[in-house]
Structure formats: structure tokens, C-alpha cells
């Protein structure tokens, strides 16, 4: 089993040591970074630091040096985002810091995505996400999307105020494995149930797994509506999406 000291990058080593407490997560991250190229650890470190300019530059350099795009994404960007997710879940950082990390992730993915797209590499899964009808709040949904993309999912973002018909149309068009619905307002929560009913009426309920979340939403409410799963935060959303499509979740 790799040791923390086997990680070359000082910053990453300190981050794991200070912020990752769960033994399974610690073991996984140490193993991941200990096996990663130092140049990719640097990308992860810059991402955790929210430094988009540096991520942009280092990603360009890594690709130019011949490192495969998939490796840069997995060992640099996604690995960095795994640390961000843990820090966010444990309240070591908050939304502004996560947004800065997401911006850095985007800077790196701007170089990676075209290469992956050209090479025909399949994403982990496809998710359609939207805030339900009548609700214009999207920061929770956006955090989920950012974490999902950072974990290798392709995400189609339907934005806010998404009607049941918009969700249905998106499922017909993009054929996702998972649909995610978000609501911040207690007045709009019932629209999750209405959307699920619309899937049943359209005979599409069995075509997708449906997950829900948002500040006022609870597991009990999700169960009552007939959702397949509830995620209490962006990290849980990723674990749930993996679970719903049958991918093993590690920490």
C-alpha cells in the first residue's frame, strides 16, 4: 500500500494529510497521487488552489509533452477535484472556493475535451440536469454538474425553470442514463413529483434513473415522489449517479 511520503508534490501531500480524514478516501487518494506523474500532480495542486491560469498552462504543457489526454484528466484534473470535493463536504472550503476550483477545472478541460471527443472515448455516463419549473436557483445544480463532469460524466445542463416537457424532450434527444432535478424553493419541490409523473405518462420512466436534490429536499420526500435517489450535496450526487448506473463508488 503506497505511503503519503511517496507523493512527490508537497502541496498535495499536505492537503491529503490535513483534510482527508476517512481512511478509505485517504488510501484511495494516496494511491492515486503516488502513481501519478509529478507534472500531473502539479496540475491537481493548481486546481485545488483554484488557480485557473496555472491549470491552463500546465495542462497545455502536459499535453504538449505527450501525456495522454485521458491521463491528464484522470490524474490531474479529476484527482484534484476529488480533494476539492472532500474539503467542501467537510466544510473546510465553501462555495466561492469550489467555484474557483471549477473555473480551474474548466480551463483544463478546455484542452482535454476536444481531444477526447475526437478520439471517441466514452464518458462514464450521461446525465441530464435541470432546476425544476418555477425555480430560478441554480447554484446547487451547477455544483453538482461541476462535480459530475469532474468525475468523468457527460452532463447536459437544461438550466433553470425546466418544465416536465423540457426534461422529457432532453431524455428523448440525449438518451441519458440519469436525470437529475434540483429545487431550492419549497414551493417548487412538488414539481419534481410532477416531472416524475410526466415520465410515467410518457412511458419513459423506466428509460432513466431519476435523482433529486436541493436544500429543502429530503430522502423521505424523494421516496414519496418516486425518485430513484436523493443526494444531499454535490459529492453525494456523484456517488449516487455512479450507484444508479452501476459503477462502483469508492469513498
Amino acid at each position: 500500500m503506497p505511503e503519503l511520503t511517496e507523493i512527490a508534490n508537497d502541496f498535495i501531500r499536505q492537503e491529503i494529510d490535513e483534510f482527508v480524514e476517512r481512511p478509505d478516501e485517504r488510501e484511495r487518494l494516496i494511491g492515486l497521487f503516488a502513481g501519478a506523474k509529478p507534472a500531473l500532480q502539479e496540475i491537481a495542486a493548481a486546481l485545488v488552489d483554484g488557480d485557473d491560469d496555472t491549470v491552463d498552462r500546465l495542462t497545455t504543457n502536459a499535453l504538449a509533452a505527450g501525456t495522454a489526454a485521458l491521463e491528464v484528466m484522470d490524474d490531474g484534473l479529476i484527482a484534484g477535484m476529488a480533494i476539492v470535493g472532500v474539503k467542501f463536504r467537510e466544510n473546510f472550503i465553501f462555495v466561492p472556493e469550489v467555484l474557483a476550483c471549477a473555473r480551474a477545472m474548466k480551463a483544463g478541460m478546455g484542452h482535454i475535451e476536444p481531444i477526447l471527443s475526437d478520439s471517441g472515448i466514452e464518458p462514464m455516463g450521461k446525465v441530464v440536469m435541470g432546476t425544476v419549473k418555477g425555480d430560478l436557483h441554480d447554484i446547487g445544480k451547477n455544483l453538482c454538474i461541476m462535480m459530475l463532469r469532474g468525475s468523468g460524466f457527460e452532463v447536459i445542463d437544461l438550466g433553470v425553470d425546466t418544465s416536465p416537457d423540457d426534461f422529457l424532450d432532453a431524455v428523448e434527444e440525449y438518451k441519458p442514463s440519469v436525470v437529475g432535478m434540483s429545487a431550492l424553493l419549497t414551493t417548487t419541490m412538488p414539481n419534481m413529483g410532477k416531472t416524475i409523473d410526466a415520465f410515467i405518462d410518457a412511458d419513459l420512466r423506466d428509460a432513466v434513473k431519476i435523482m433529486v436534490g436541493g436544500a429543502p429536499v429530503t430522502q423521505e420526500f424523494a421516496d414519496d415522489m418516486g425518485a430513484d435517489g436523493y443526494g444531499k450535496d454535490a459529492m453525494a450526487c456523484v456517488s449516487l449517479a455512479k450507484e444508479l448506473i452501476g459503477v462502483e463508488t469508492r469513498g
Partner: protein, 353 residues
């Protein structure tokens, strides 16, 4: 320990609690909306019109006292009145949903863009609030406390700049962030002062530096001093409202000089009381989505008693209640308070009924 005084009016009870003085029983207070679709139908004052027409706004607000038995009325059901007056795009919705600012279509990008109109208080959606407060005072007299609402600069920045751009700016450029808050500050004060002058007994000041978005240190860095200034310059009691888990910033909030903090059910009453330690009164924190909206009167009473057991000075819903909340659950709040005081503590016939 303060001595309990003889029976007083709802208004007197609330004002005493806001001053930290003894009361005959714990006041039932709604610093945010208790409007429901059922109440809208009852008095024929539906959304969205009840957010824009003073007579309807006052009529719906009055039901908090006349139908629910609360000690306060609160006519500002949403958080968009100033934003609408400033020029934000609003989705007004229908009877079953609150109006919302279209934050995906922000109106400002830099502090220099901020242009709070000089006639802010004369714009229809701010004037409506002032007029509704006057109507409520005229119609309800001195018996009930009227609570107004003036949005804090942090919340106003979300509306005008968009949540994500503003939060990113707060990390990237603290000076620009402070400039934005400074430029919205006078609007917060002006609207608060105008509501007190119109007859409000207190104002709620929502400023959503919530634990769901930013750290307690953020609150201290950006808002604590400004909130202290609000407490000094608005000539009436201020009830600060911040949703979410806030125990990590309650110590800072307690030092602002505001009269009360409207706290969320994500915070335990006893823990919260221990942190504020008598420096500010607490009001809350009956859970909305799980309890008031989805459960029954017994569960509501249990949460009220938990607050009373902890010594929380005023009880009420944690935030603006879901518009489909059953009326009997809201009526259970004052009932639970009366039962608790009549029994001299938690009634023995608890929620097993």
C-alpha cells in the same frame, strides 16, 4: 432571571422580547412570510398581486394575526421588492409560487454599474410595502406588532450580479466586493428607516451569507461591521435573517447590536442559545419543509417546545413558509406556546396524541 410580567398585547409582548425584557409568554413571531395559498383564498389576496398592491398585501399579511394567532404581521412575502425597484428582471409567477429575481440575467457586472435610483422609495414595489405597513397600522391598531423587511447588501448583490459571479468576485477581489456592499448599504438603510417611519415596529434584514454558501469567517470579514452599522442607523429593532447552518457565525452576529437573529432549523436551539449567550435574542426555528409543510400539529408543537425548553426568546417558522403549508400546522405554533406556559414547561401530554 427576569420576572414574568402581567398579560400584555401581542405588540407589547414582541417589543418587550426584542428589547430583552420580561414577557408574559413567549411571542410567536414571523420575521418572514407566513402567507399560504389557503390564506390567499380566504381573504381573496392572491400572489402575485399581493406582492404588488398595498391593499392586498396588507390584507394577506393581516391573516398572520387574525387567522393564525401570531403576535406579528409581516407584509413583505418575498425578497424581490427592492430588486424590482432597482431594475432587476423578475419572474412574478402565479398564486402557487413566490416571485423570483432572474439572477441568470444580472443587471450589473462591476461596482461602477451600481445605480440605485434616487427615488427608490417611490418605485411601485417599494412604495407598496410602505403603504401596506400604513394600512396594517390603521386597521390593526396598536395590538399587533408589524415587521417590515429590508434586504441586506450581500443578498442584494446576489440579485444584481448573480450568485456565482458575486461569490467568485468575493474570492478574487475583496476590495471590489466591499465596494459593492458599500454601494448597496444606503438602500438597505433607507428602506429600513422608511418602514419604521411608516409604522413598522421592527424590520427583518435578510442577508444570505448562509453556511450553505460561505464560511463564518466570510461573515466576519465582509458583513459584521456593516451589520453593526445597520443596528446603529436604523431606528428600530432589527431581526437579522440568515438561512442554513449558522452556528459558526452566531458569535459574530451576536456582537452586531441587532435585536434578534432569525435562525434556521439546521441549528440546535440549545447550542445556538449557548453561543449567543444572551447578547442577541433568537427567533425561530420551526422546520419548514419537513415539519410545517409535511407533518402535523403534534410534530410542530414538539419543535416549538424544544425552542422554549432552550429559552429561545421568540418562536416561529425558520424562514418563509411553503405556500401549501396547512393552516392547522401554523396555528399549532401559538397553541404550543400557550400550552407550554400554562404547564409551566413542556406539557406532559406530549406529541404521543
Amino acid at each position: 432571571m427576569n420576572e414574568i410580567v402581567a398579560s400584555i398585547t401581542s405588540r407589547g409582548r414582541v417589543l418587550a422580547a426584542l428589547r430583552g425584557e420580561p414577557v408574559d409568554r413567549t411571542p410567536v413571531v414571523n420575521p418572514t412570510s407566513v402567507a399560504t395559498v389557503e390564506l390567499m383564498d380566504l381573504v381573496d389576496a392572491p400572489f402575485p398581486d399581493a406582492n404588488r398592491e398595498p391593499e392586498l398585501m396588507a390584507r394577506l399579511a393581516a391573516t398572520g394575526y387574525t387567522e393564525l394567532g401570531f403576535d406579528t404581521v409581516m407584509p413583505v412575502f418575498s425578497i424581490i421588492q427592492e430588486s424590482s425597484a432597482i431594475g432587476c428582471k423578475i419572474q412574478w409567477e402565479q398564486k402557487d409560487n413566490w416571485p423570483t429575481v432572474k439572477m441568470r440575467e444580472p443587471i450589473y457586472e462591476t461596482p461602477d454599474d451600481i445605480d440605485v435610483p434616487e427615488d427608490l422609495l417611490e418605485r411601485p414595489d417599494t412604495r407598496c410595502v410602505l403603504e401596506a405597513i400604513r394600512i396594517l397600522r390603521r386597521d390593526l391598531g396598536e395590538d399587533v406588532a408589524i415587521i417590515g423587511k429590508t434586504m441586506g447588501p450581500w443578498s442584494q448583490a446576489y440579485h444584481c450580479f448573480g450568485v456565482e459571479p458575486f461569490l467568485l468576485l468575493s474570492l478574487d477581489d475583496p476590495n471590489q466586493t466591499r465596494l459593492i456592499l458599500e454601494r448597496f448599504k444606503e438602500a438597505t438603510i433607507a428602506f429600513g428607516v422608511a418602514q419604521i417611519e411608516a409604522g413598522a415596529d421592527a424590520v427583518t434584514l435578510p442577508d444570505h451569507a448562509t453556511g450553505d454558501l460561505v464560511s463564518g469567517e466570510y461573515y466576519k470579514r465582509y458583513l459584521q461591521e456593516m451589520h453593526h452599522e445597520f443596528a446603529e442607523r436604523i431606528p428600530g429593532p432589527i431581526i437579522l435573517h440568515i438561512c442554513g447552518r449558522t452556528v459558526d457565525r452566531m458569535d459574530y452576529i451576536a456582537q452586531t447590536g441587532m435585536a434578534a437573529f432569525h435562525y434556521d432549523s439546521k441549528n440546535e436551539p440549545a447550542e445556538s442559545m449557548a453561543i449567543v449567550d444572551g447578547r442577541i435574542s433568537l427567533v425561530g426555528n420551526i422546520n419548514n419543509p419537513e415539519t410545517l409543510f409535511a407533518k402535523g400539529p403534534d410534530e410542530v408543537k414538539e419543535e416549538v417546545w424544544k425552542n422554549l425548553d432552550a429559552g429561545v426568546q421568540m418562536v416561529g417558522p425558520e424562514c418563509a413558509i411553503p405556500l401549501q403549508t396547512p393552516i392547522e400546522n401554523l396555528r399549532a405554533i401559538p397553541q404550543a406556546v400557550v400550552e407550554w406556559h400554562a404547564a409551566g414547561g413542556r406539557p406532559t401530554t406530549a406529541s404521543a396524541n
